[in-house]
């Protein structure tokens, strides 16, 4: 109870000196606000990253025909990525769960009756479903029999099914890709948007052999999709595949790769991009302002101890112990940082929300920054309050009253 009464005395001193209190608080406000924004942006970025990675597949490695720095569609006319490469990877690289070579063609005309769409057609083998973890929601998947017999069957994404058949049931119906007729045997699960921004669900999927021989007339593939057993090994598996393809394609340094390889880890790195650097910068800013704010707080308190010598002496004369005076000044410091924390959190929250609204940058506001802010406020308040409080407590009542 006595402690509470003394704490009240400490807090009361602040309301009497509003401008001084504000200066003491400024560093904490800025620091905590920055911290809140960082964490909101960080959480938002991570959400975006996870969304990208999940869309790509957390266990996935994608090999694409053609070079290029970014994660991009296969280059047309690159004929060097072949089914033999897929077999070699499958037999020589450890840690692979499943592997699926496939050939993609963009801008294919697909017709059903009078409805026509232009879309991406993927020619895939039976392992494709597992490699992509993408299955049929209705009908049957692409099977080994389909590829061995070069069956003219196809699967539709939910969007393409709707575009071509509306409300009708597409299964068992015919569609035409180019000049070739295909029977719809299944509808794929809805998957959303690809990491490159394509609509997955507007695609049409046909057996690999049918695609290569009957539709595209080619003997190379555009992609090999690999699913690793353990995502922790993804970088090393990717490295081995890269090395194997270099050997098989006779690529030595000055020559550029004729394929691109991206793993889920690469996708995450790309998605994080500069936000990591930004985060470090903002964290440094937050830390610095908390530290500088703490020093300012300490100095103003030290000055205030000097100015309030008479008050301290009087309180001592009236019966305050050294401990009472110490607690009073420490409480003053803590009140400043705790109030600063509340204001800083509010400011940070407002700034994050504004950012989310204006920039469309993903921002996630959660309770964690507030818990962390509370922790920081307590630490800063105690750490920088101790010295002034100790000085106040050690004043001799006789000297202080003079």
């Amino acid at each position: 109870m006595r402690t509470l009464r003394i704490a009240t005395e400490g807090a009361r001193a602040l309301t009497g000196h509003k401008l001084r209190t504000f200066f003491m608080m400024a560093g904490t406000i800025v620091g905590i606000a920055a911290l809140t924004v960082i964490m909101a942006v960080g959480a938002g970025t991570e959400k975006k990253v996870m969304k990208r990675v999940n869309a790509f597949g957390t266990h996935a490695i994608m090999i694409t025909a053609g070079g290029g720095k970014g994660f991009s569609p296969p280059q047309a006319g690159v004929t060097t990525l072949r089914l033999e490469d897929a077999d070699a990877i499958s037999s020589q690289v450890q840690g692979i769960d499943v592997l699926a070579p496939f050939a993609v063609k963009r801008g294919m005309a697909v017709k059903a009756g009078t409805n026509q769409v232009e879309t991406i057609v993927m020619a895939v083998g039976p392992t494709w479903h597992d490699a992509w973890e993408w299955y049929v929601q209705e009908g049957d998947p692409i099977t080994a029999e389909d590829t061995s017999t070069m069956a003219r069957v196809c699967l539709l994404g939910t969007v393409s099914a709707n575009d071509l058949f509306g409300n009708e049931d597409p299964i068992g119906q015919d569609i035409q890709i180019g000049n070739v007729r295909f029977k719809v045997k299944g509808i794929l699960e809805t998957r959303g948007t690809s990491p490159m921004g394509d609509e997955f669900d507007s695609r049409v999927v046909i057996p690999l052999t049918t695609g290569l021989r009957r539709l595209y007339n080619q003997d190379y593939v555009t992609n090999i999709r690999v699913k690793v057993k353990n995502p922790d090994e993804i970088d090393s598996v990717a490295g081995e595949i890269r090395q194997l393809l270099h050997e098989r394609h006779h690529i030595t340094p000055p020559r550029e790769d004729d394929f691109a390889l991206f793993s889920a880890a690469d996708i995450a790195r790309m998605a994080r991009g500069i936000s990591g650097t930004l985060n470090i910068l903002l964290t440094a800013l937050a830390g610095l302002s908390l530290f500088v704010g703490g020093i300012v707080l300490m100095n103003i308190l030290l000055i205030s101890v000097g100015e309030r010598k008479k008050e301290i002496g009087l309180r001592r004369a009236l019966g305050a112990t050294q401990g009472d005076i110490f607690r009073q000044f420490l409480m003053e410091s803590l009140s400043v940082t705790l109030l600063g924390m509340v204001l800083g959190s509010a400011l940070g929250w407002a700034a994050s929300s504004l950012m989310a609204a204006v920039t469309k940058f993903p921002v996630v506001v959660s309770w964690q920054p507030f818990a962390l802010a509370l922790g920081f406020a307590l630490v800063v308040g105690l750490f920088f309050g101790v010295q002034p409080a100790r000085r106040a407590a050690r004043l001799k009542p006789v000297d202080a009253l003079r």
Binding site: M1, R2, R5, I6, E9, G16, K310, E311, G313, L314, R315, R316, A317, L318, G319, A320, T321, Q322, G323, D324, K396, P397, V398, L401
Partner: protein, 244 residues
């Protein structure tokens, strides 16, 4: 009861030692009204600080109700000041930003038990020094005499047995000074020990006994044959002001 026995105080600054009190001994019985006099530099303030348990002597013994304060630690001295001694200072030493009521309640914060009726007690004490209508005023809204009466109310709130006043009229005009002295006179009549430190013999003569310090020693310790009546003086001065 207060008992000083060979009290010495030596200030040391570097190699130089300055003796300020050179063996002071006297007793003050409970309920006495004593004035301590002396010119500035005679050790008056130092003695006052020791009497108020704000400072410790470098030699001798000071027994307050049979406790030798020389042996007490800082916390025990704080406790003693809180419940046994009421201070009244020349400079009033009120908290500028607090109301009269809050100023009077201040010592209760440091009491062992915060009384539930703290506010009522403070109001009653303020009323007793004639400030019933000034409870919510801040010090800068009060006259010097009123401020000193707030300070007296503050000294009385913990119901101490000893009132220690250091030049309480030093910053006041004669009417306000007389009013303050009239309050001390009343406190004395109520049975409290009042110790008044002053350089002014006219003020000191309100007490029952005068101890004169000279050069760090007791030069004179005598009862006052006919103590002056502060109450009558205050009334006379007030009447004179009305006539003006």
């Amino acid at each position: 009861m207060i008992e000083l026995e060979g009290i010495e105080k030596v200030y040391t600054s570097g190699a130089a030692e300055t003796p300020v009190l050179k063996g002071i001994s006297f007793k003050v019985n409970a309920g006495e009204y004593v004035a301590i006099m002396g010119a500035s530099g005679t050790g008056k303030s130092t003695l006052m600080n020791i009497l108020g348990c704000l400072d410790k002597p470098t030699g001798g013994h000071y027994r307050l109700d049979d406790t030798d304060m020389v042996n007490l630690d800082d916390d025990a001295l704080s406790h003693l000041r809180n419940h046994k001694i009421g201070f009244v200072f020349q400079q009033f030493h009120l908290l500028d930003r607090s109301t009269a009521l809050r100023n009077v309640m201040l010592p209760l914060i440091y009491a062992d038990e915060y009384p539930e009726d703290a506010k009522e007690r403070a109001e009653k004490t303020l009323a007793a020094v004639g400030l019933a209508d000034r409870m919510t005023y801040r010090p800068n809204q009060l006259s010097g005499g009123q401020q000193q009466r707030v300070a007296i109310a503050r000294a009385l709130i913990t119901d101490p047995s000893i009132i220690l006043a250091d030049e309480p009229t030093g910053n006041l005009d004669s009417t306000s000074g007389a009013e303050v002295l009239a309050i001390f006179q009343r406190l004395h009549k109520e049975g409290r020990t009042v110790i008044l430190v002053t350089h002014d013999r006219a003020v000191a003569e309100h007490a029952d006994r005068i101890i004169v310090l000279k050069d760090g020693s007791v030069a004179e310790d005598q009862p006052v044959a006919h103590p002056r009546d502060a109450d009558a003086e205050a009334r006379a001065l007030a009447e004179k002001e009305v006539q003006k």
